[in-house]
């Protein structure tokens, strides 16, 4: 179970930074800080897949970074299966499987070595680690390039390796930041099937994406973040109901338009 309450994060602006006219109009900019995430709340239960949507720069990645303990929130709380990430970050990290937007592999290491390294950092024993990697290689169809160095892999191979690395330690919570970006159809299908497998195993999964077809086929819940606030949070049915024809694209746009109006009113 993932529970996020009123999460906020600001980044100090450099002393010499001068705001452009557009930035001055943006509610996220104050005199000395950029409030990347201002108020984000949502929850994701066991076996649920939550789609995190939002335009570029909305605050999705910052939110996911706070969830994964990479960044410390300025305000709010994050509970992962009852573990407070602020109070017990190391314990929280043991539960998290995180895939960043960058594939992020070590080029000189093979697929096996990349995954094994993170397994060892999670304290896995060698025998269990080998067994788990073999299982993931089968699930993600990776045996053919198990000993290939990341520098010599295709984008799809890299992404599969990155996913395997993120879940090698059997995390209780999985966070995926745009896991299908730039992949071919076959690899996308493998990734989506893998997420379905996690869902079936009862693991809560949060994934950010710009692909609404993936949201339609996978997600139980949807959160739309715009300008650092959760502009919508609800199940897929409620989200779909935001448009007259049940189209997710229209629903998404209607949330953003509503969000703009709400924020302008708030600013006034």
């Amino acid at each position: 179970m993932i529970e996020i309450q009123e999460l906020a994060k600001a980044f100090a602006l450099g002393k010499s930074s001068k705001l452009s006219d557009t930035e001055k109009q943006d509610v996220r900019y104050s005199k000395d800080a950029f409030h990347s995430v201002r108020n984000v709340s949502f929850s994701c239960g066991p076996g649920e897949v939550l789609g995190l949507l939002g335009p570029n720069g909305a605050g999705k990645t910052t939110t996911l970074r706070m969830l994964s303990t990479a960044l410390k929130p300025d305000a709010g709380s994050v509970l992962l299966n009852g573990v407070d990430v602020l109070k017990q970050p190391v314990k929280a990290r043991q539960q998290i499987g995180f895939l960043s937007a960058d594939t992020g592999l070590y080029g000189k290491l093979t697929a096996f070595e990349n995954i094994a390294y993170f397994g060892r950092l999670h304290g896995m024993k060698e025998e269990a680690l080998k067994q788990r990697i073999d299982e993931l290689f089968t699930l993600l169809n990776m045996h053919d390039f198990a000993n290939r160095r990341a520098d010599n892999m295709s984008t799809g191979m890299k992404q599969k390796t990155a996913i395997a690395r993120a879940v090698v330690h059997g995390p209780k919570v999985v966070i995926l930041d745009e896991p299908t970006t730039g992949l071919d159809i076959m690899t996308v299908q493998t990734v989506l099937d893998f997420i379905k497998g996690l869902k079936a195993a009862g693991t809560p999964v949060i994934f950010s994406t710009h692909h609404l077809d993936e949201v339609a086929s996978l997600c139980d819940r949807v959160v739309v973040i715009d300008k650092g606030v959760s502009a919508f949070s609800g199940d897929i049915g409620q989200f779909r109901a935001l448009s007259d024809n049940g189209d997710l694209r229209d629903a998404f746009l209607s949330v953003l338009q509503g969000s703009v109006i709400t924020q302008q009113q708030g600013a006034a």
């Binding site: 980044f11 100090a12 970074r65 994964s68 303990t69 990479a70 960044l71 410390k72 190391v90 314990k91 990290r93 043991q94 998290i96 995180f98 960043s100 937007a101 960058d102 594939t103 992020g104 592999l105 070590y106 080029g107 000189k108 290491l109 070595e113 390294y117 993170f118 060892r120 950092l121 999670h122 304290g123 160095r149 690395r165 993120a166």
Partner: protein
């Protein structure tokens, strides 16, 4: 921490750039310095010594004995010229008609008879790197002056047995107490430090950039940060890897210096180098290496801190370039004449290690000062590591 260390080391061992900077460069830099530079220097010197200088003497008839002396000198060749004025002679030398002109005053013979002083001119281009011509000329002039002095004194009826004492009342004989090794150490010790210390920096630079900025650029840092190990362990694992590469580079450099110094000394006919090298005991090489240890740790921590701050590989390289200048400044200061290892200079970072290496090569090291250098550099290294650990915990540094 060790998981991070061994993984980083595995990656580095597979990287060609690291192998070049850490292993190949230190192995081959000393043969290049000892061999190629030594040969070039000796060949240039030998060529300069054997060079034949074309000369003219104005009013040679006034000092025929001197003119004859120059004529029979193997490094001088007489050319004919009718130029006599200073301006014409300078112009002729500039036009490469000859290399040197000696202007003897037209009344020299008369003045000589009257035992009066006369002023001669020697006109030549003094910009040459090796001024052997003037040295030869000076030797001949010195002999000629003595001949004239003896003749004048004889003319003045001075006692023949006292002539030498009158001409040169004090004859100083130099007795050198310095061993050849000390001489070599004084001349080349600082140069060796000038090579060893930057190689430690160079050996550590690439791995440091790769482990900080490189990790950010590849997008692996974020994944690493959310592993259930402390950030202190991560940074120490990385620091130890950078330190290892710096030290492996330094170790290979010291070994290369010892081995190639001895080999080239015996093969290349550079007996002085061979003698000096054979006088340097293995203990001193170990001490040199021990001094490089803490300074390499300082470099490793600083490089890693800079690299972690940088957003990209290129940005890290840009930040590290000024650091190289800060490291070269104390090294250059250590090479300055008259700069010695004292209790004060022993506290100046980098310069102290350079001076200590020089003293160790000379064989005149003060072990008390060495201990002081060792302690002060370890203190500096500890502070640098503490800063690096603190730096690695700052969000504004990691997610700029």
């Amino acid at each position: 921490m060790w998981q991070v260390y061994f993984k980083e080391l595995t990656e580095l061992m597979r990287d060609k750039k690291t192998l070049i900077f850490v292993i190949l460069l230190p192995i081959f830099i000393f043969p290049v310095i000892f061999g190629v530079m030594g040969l070039v220097l000796s060949s240039t010197t030998s060529k300069a010594m054997q060079e034949e200088h074309r000369y003219v003497i104005v009013n040679a008839d006034q000092a025929p004995d001197f003119a004859e002396k120059v004529f029979y000198h193997k490094n001088f060749k007489q050319v004919n010229s009718d130029k006599t004025s200073e301006a014409d002679l300078i112009e002729a030398i500039r036009n490469d008609e000859f290399d040197v002109a000696v202007v003897i005053p037209a009344d020299f013979a008369t003045k000589r008879q009257q035992v009066e002083q006369s002023k001669w001119q020697i006109i030549y281009n003094q910009s040459s790197q090796f001024d052997f011509m003037y040295r030869y000329f000076n030797e001949m002039m010195s002999d000629y002056n003595e001949t004239l002095q003896r003749a004048a004194l004889t003319q003045l009826n001075v006692d023949q047995t006292k002539l030498s004492a009158i001409i040169k009342p004090v004859d100083v004989q130099k007795v050198d107490t310095a061993a050849k090794r000390e001489n070599i150490g004084e001349k080349f010790g600082a140069l060796i430090a000038y090579i060893l210390i930057p190689l430690c920096l160079l050996g550590a630079s690439y791995p440091a950039i790769d482990m900080g900025a490189g990790e950010k650029e590849r997008g692996t840092l974020e994944t690493l940060l959310i592993c259930p190990i402390s950030r202190v362990s991560i940074v120490l694992g990385k620091f130890l890897t950078v330190l290892t590469t710096g030290l492996v580079g330094a170790l290979i450099t010291v070994a290369s210096f010892g081995i190639w110094g001895a080999v080239i000394g015996s093969l290349g006919g550079m007996a002085v180098v061979q003698e000096a090298m054979s006088a340097i005991a293995i203990t001193e090489l170990i001490l040199i290496f021990s001094l490089l240890l803490p300074i390499s740790a300082v470099f490793a921590a600083l490089l890693l801190a800079i690299s972690i701050y940088a957003r990209t590989f290129k940005e890290a390289q840009n930040y590290i370039s000024p650091l190289s200048i800060f490291i070269f400044l104390p090294l250059v200061a250590a090479m300055m004449p008259g700069v010695e290892l004292t209790a004060i200079t022993a506290l100046v970072p980098i310069m102290n290690v350079a001076l200590a290496i020089k003293e160790l090569i000379k064989g005149t090291a003060d072990y008390g000062l060495l201990a002081l250098i060792f302690a002060s550099t370890i203190a500096l290294a500890t502070a640098a590591i503490a800063f690096c650990v603190h730096w690695f915990q700052q969000e504004k540094v990691l997610f700029r």
